[in-house]
Amino acid sequence: MENVDQSQSSAGATDSSCRGTPPCRFLSTCDGLPVGLADAETIFALSSGHGRCGVAVVRASGPASATALRCMAGLSRSLPPPRTALLRSITDSQSKEVLDRGLVFWFPAPHSFTGEDSVEFHIHGGPAVITAVLQALGSVPGMRPAEAGEFTRRAFQAGKLDLTEVEGLGDLIHAETEAQRRQALRQMSGELGHLYQDWTHKLKRCLAHVEAFIDFSEDELIEDGVLNQVDRWVCDLQAEMEQHLKDERRGERLRSGVQVVIAGATNAGKSSLLNTLCQRPAAIVSPIAGTTRDIVETALDIGGFPVLLSDTAGLRESQDLVEREGVRRARERVEQADLTLVVVDCAHLPSDAQQAAAFLQEHLRSVLPTQEQPETVFAADRFLLLLNKTDLLPEEQRQKLDRELRRVSGFPPVCLISCHTNEGLQDFLTVLHSSVKTLCGDPLSGAPTLTQARHRAHLQQCFAALAQYQRYRDIDLALAAEGVRLALTSLGRITGRVGAEEILDIIFKDFCIGK
């Protein structure tokens, strides 16, 4: 509940609603139209921070809010009294399935955070419930997932925020878009990202070829087969998207908690750390270097926050093909991690404390992603340095090392631990907890379910738009092209926008235009 209060105070600076793509042209109204008339679309989002919590708050704002409340809370006759808690069963309006039992609130315009008709669902905080409620909201006509910071912007546009607070809003949006850019990058480097980029690329080509056929075929040599090619592409894309939309498992995997990755050289004790943290032998541990070859994942609850902990293969040059693949995956995982635990075997440190610091600095560079900027390499909130096997170090040397490392600036937080004796583990857990808390409590890190809901909504629009292409293909090519454009716009909301110039560039690359 804290999160809700937070998002309603302080210039709404914690509109945690959404992540994904940077918002584009979000200023839906600028001329002070009456509230509610400004934007006919109704938006919804998980408004509480993510993480396993007792209660989650899902908020909707816009004209269809009342409809959503009516059909999901079984309030067919009348709306509840304004701003009063009401305990209801929350159902999916289409399947009639009961999703949860929780509190609902009705905030009629203009007495709401956004100044529009708004509703809130206070539901149980499990990811399954949240996902189900968000999906149910998405199926109500006129509803769509909110763009980044959209609740706050609507509040601003409705004059709910003082102009002096806008400076903060601008900075907030900057931070959001920056965070989104990072997240998008991370997602884009993964399997899913490749898929979306591939689709975007194919759609761009489809559109470019249709546009070329429209704008140039009368005068130029545009082969007749161009449209048949587009037909095939569109058909393939539709099949792929349909398959993808059915495959919920992959969506779940996309973001299901804070991604914490254990990385380091072979035999540093990474798997032991994993086993210690999850308190069961999840990973095989042996004194043989290179025991762990694939990623070992386990879900953890660190002080109430969901964490997906991954153990990775030790980083070293290897001739073994399997191990090399393991190392490649380990590096990929580190690049996508929210938090990386770099594990180092104390015994390998030079005995001189100063040299040890230099050694560690070098070591960190070798573990961390190469494309990271040097100055951000040791960003405190994204890396923890764990010196393992302290039980093998004389007490005096250990203290010297500890002191020396604390002196060196530009280092990530350092913990000296022993997975063998559990020494230092409690301190490490405190540090880990606070890091995870920062990551989760950071409203910008977004909710995984929401990211999914947004993706799904855009993908569904994209899929539907392609059907428009097929419907008009032989009747009206302008309307068919409009379908491909819409599809590209929808997909573009996940992967970034596509402008007319870009389409023209493809046209001129693929065709010999010259009348």
Binding site: P23, C30, E167, I173, E218, D476, L479, E501, C512
Partner: protein, 682 residues
Amino acid sequence: MLTKKLPPLNSFLSLVSRRASHVTRQQYDVIVVGGGHAGTEAAAAAARVGAKTLLVSQKIQTIGALSCNPSLGGVGKGQLVREVDALDGLCGRAGDWAGIHFSILNRSKGPAVWGPRAQLDRQRYREFIQSELLSTPRLTVLEGSVEELLVSETNPEQPGHHRVTGILLANGSHPVSASSVILTTGTFLSGSLFIGQSTSPGGRIGDAPSSSGLSHTLKERLGLRVGRLRTGTPPRILRDSVDFSLAVVQPPDGHPTPFSFLNTRTHCKPEEQLPCHLTYTTPGVERVVKDSLHLNCHIQEDAKGPRYCPSIESRVLRFPGRRHQVWLEPEGLTSDLLYPQGLSMTMPPDVQLSLIRQIPALHRAKIHTHGYGVQYDFVCPTQLSPALQVKNTQGLFLAGQINGTTGYEEAAAQGLWAGVNAARCALSMPTVSLSRTESYIGVLIDDLVSRGVTEPYRMFTSRAEFRTALRPDNADMRLTLKGFEEVGCVSTLRYQEAVRVRDSLQDAQATLQALSLSSNSWKKQLPDIQISEVKNTVMTGMEVLQYNNVSFEMLASAFPESLSRHMEFSQRLKIEAVYRPHCNLQKKEIERIQKEENLLLPHDMDYLSLPVSMSQEVREILDRVRPSTLGAATRLQGITPAAIVHLLNYVRSAELRERRKHRKQQKEEREEELCAAKASLP
């Protein structure tokens, strides 16, 4: 419109020269420099708005000349012609008068992308334009060369800001003064001509180069950034020397469709139209190009040429090993010449001849005039406002190729809009702009002023986001009414016609909407149609008309008493029915953009020191481009959402301050009145 008799050309000339003698002693509202497509539309539009206008052209005979291809319209370009006509411009009616081969391109691809196009008789086109200008009240035409653009000294309070005061003619001792000046100098700004290895100054072969004074003023005095572009024209070929048996005949449409909303027929009778011919290049063409590259300095220069209308040299170099289309287009009903579309070239004359003879139908062709290339300066159009006024020079407007565009239609559209605004400016009326949501002209101008150009800019339908709403059939509904009511560039006659059309269309649509039957009854009425809806669904006439194989004629014959009186608009009604659902979907997006367009950003905003947190990069972009609206700002590359919020905030608080100030003033005035009233009491 077509019934009017064209006055003989010589009477036109005599009138012009008579006026020329006293022209220099006068004061004008608007002076237009240049008599091409941009200049003629600009002069006519300025005069229609009510400005006392002077058109200065180097040569009276070349006013309205088609310098390059003898054709008008096409895909995207045809939309511009329709819009210029809807705003009462000249080129649509001139095309109807001079057209000798009409066709609608893209006929099979949907009415939104139909491209009305015509081959023109060069002489007829020129005569029509000249005659129109002659009969335009408030417009004077003068033959002369402009030596210098006159601008005021900079205002110390606004460094770098000037004001246009008039022009200085080459041989005239007196300056001619005006509040607004429109430059439409085409390729003449520091233009050079290229054939083979020789170059000479000029903008068009046969015409004197324009004075360097103009170019100097723009660059040095006003500090405008310029770029360099290139273009070219093909050799003209003697018709008698062409072997048409080796080319494919391309007949015109059987029923020519006029460009203009005012015309129901074209001047040329359907059966009088001339065909075009299509032929192809051969490997021999490629060989000649490659062998003569060292003799061809135009192609070696690095000025940017158009990607979509390239010279034959760039075509075969970029796409070797292919055959390329060559269209043989008539230059007029009585002309002996053909225009080989697609053979623009700049090689030496003897090589030009050997190249064209590699083409089957041209194997014994003779060249009348050689092809040549032109390189010219253009003014980076991001320095203009959406009214096409130079931002730092009050009263100076630019239109046409000088802004980096290519094509008659693009020039005409800009000319018209610059003319409108130059006149409004001179007459102390606020400038007006067209949104990209309502017209191709708006798309064109917005692209130019907010994005600039890197190569000659040509219109394509794919540039218009709202293409399904910006159709050639509805340009009058989009622009004529506004053109009369808000802009003042449309005659009463045309306005009344547009109002009649609007009322009829609305009436017909209301009738169709009210025609509500069950799908079963529709099936009985229209037995040949597959209506897919379930039996008892109620459908309106509008909905039934959306079916692919239902025409308005079919509905009218089923319900003659209510619908037959609307037969005049059968095609428009059909198009409207099909497109309306899609346009409605886009409406929200359009409204949102329009709201952003309505939020004006002050011209004199000091972005570099605006007291908000904005990155230096963003500040520099804003400072360089100076978007005139928030909408334009959002379309700039590199502008972050956060910057937009700051801009919005700034504008809003400025409004607030303004309102407070206003209220305070009012209060003070009231108090003063009160005091005065008290004082006047005995």
